[in-house]
Symmetry: D2
């Protein structure tokens, strides 16, 4: 199984006290906020998204398999790789690491790029493709 | 102590499973989302705010005293009254009721109205004052 | 495509102001909290889960396809059906309806039943199977 | 006005994409989760709270004044000081710093210590008082 090093992008995200539910571990929903945050952090860092960018990425599909609980306090490392860089969408593979070599969860997340105003799909331009090309990975 | 009937506006809001923290009751932070939602629901219902309104309300102060735990599942009733309808701000008194006559929490919440684009304060117009006047209450 | 009436269980859940993200619609993560809440509300209502139940349900997998944005204010109706009632797990089909006949999102959600203390899998008993049997549906 | 250096405890907390609301900045409610998290991180780090601690801290009061918006992405630094270390409660002063010398928000947060099982107030013991004494500050 892929380890954190196999993912070309990493975001370190801290757990919050309210992330835990009544079972004393981080609620399943919160893992999706980590995926959403890690992907968006990467897109901001690469200049693909920003507060004024003409295109925005809307999540059209996601999913997660949960392998192990995560507890407060502490950070998780979110590994991100691009599985498919399509015409106007990008599908990511994401893994959540919480101290162990193997992930606490594996997920996928797909953005469709749309015009910020009209919300109609916008093809992903060549500059963005070049900017993200190093994140495309077949190995995770 | 004021009961729900003493508040001129009520919003009924359902608890969510993830609202609970590791202590098995709704986390303190979530009460503020109920206040924020009840006030904003009222402002949408009265036509003061909307997706395209020229002014928006930004929270500049809030606070809460927590009297009793709230548990999942079930709804809370959020009572809202206007304590002060100022030149460009409105201060609300808010109470959270969770099945008992006395509130599980009492809070306050202040919005400043600003221009959606410039974020500069916008005086509250006469029409909005008239629209909200029945919510001003000295008794809670 | 299945409509709300095709799902044997419904939960009505209100949107909260903070559910919206910077794109002005409910963030993708929040849809998972609606699924999680609707399934858990049903399990509480049927007496399968409770604050003191010996078994608890842990989410081991979920996923969602997003078809249309959901906006504040207003409620969503979450339709729930059991796709597979296994030895110690239950897989649900879930749909989010937000005013239209067709769902704004379709998802799945799988709980594994474990002992509350040891967190080891607990087979689902005959009483629980009987209690949930009317929710098993092949049509959604 | 106090700067971050005036607070004896700091937690660095990352913003999440879903923290932003439809106005494009972090929603007011989220600031409370930062306070709640920073105080609880400190209590875990000092060994006052833990997954099995006999006493737990329940929030009985909090409040916040919001001075400036916070935006995604980026971290905030949460400064924490003890304002009053009472018999069974602790009142904290909290400030949120987001890049500027002056805080984006100032708040307070009060925990009452109770027995984890009975939820009856538990006096704070001498060891805990000693452990936290360096965080008591009159200067913020």
């Amino acid at each position: 199984m892929a380890t954190a090093q196999d993912y070309p992008w990493h975001s370190v995200i801290g757990t919050r006290w309210m992330d835990c539910d009544a079972y004393g571990h981080v609620n399943n929903v919160v893992y999706y906020s980590w995926m959403d945050t890690a992907v968006t952090q990467m897109l901001y860092a690469r200049g693909v998204l920003g507060a004024q960018s003409a295109s925005i990425g809307l999540c059209v599909a996601s999913g997660c398999d949960f392998h192990a609980p995560v507890e407060f306090p502490g950070d998780v490392t979110v590994g991100v790789a691009i599985e498919r860089l399509g015409t106007s969408s990008i599908r990511y593979r994401v893994a959540i690491f919480a101290g162990a070599d193997t992930p606490a969860a594996n997920g996928h997340f797909t953005h469709v790029y749309v015009d910020r105003q009209t919300r109609k799909p916008n093809p992903i331009g060549d500059q963005t493709r070049a900017t993200l090309s190093d994140l495309v990975s077949m190995s995770v």
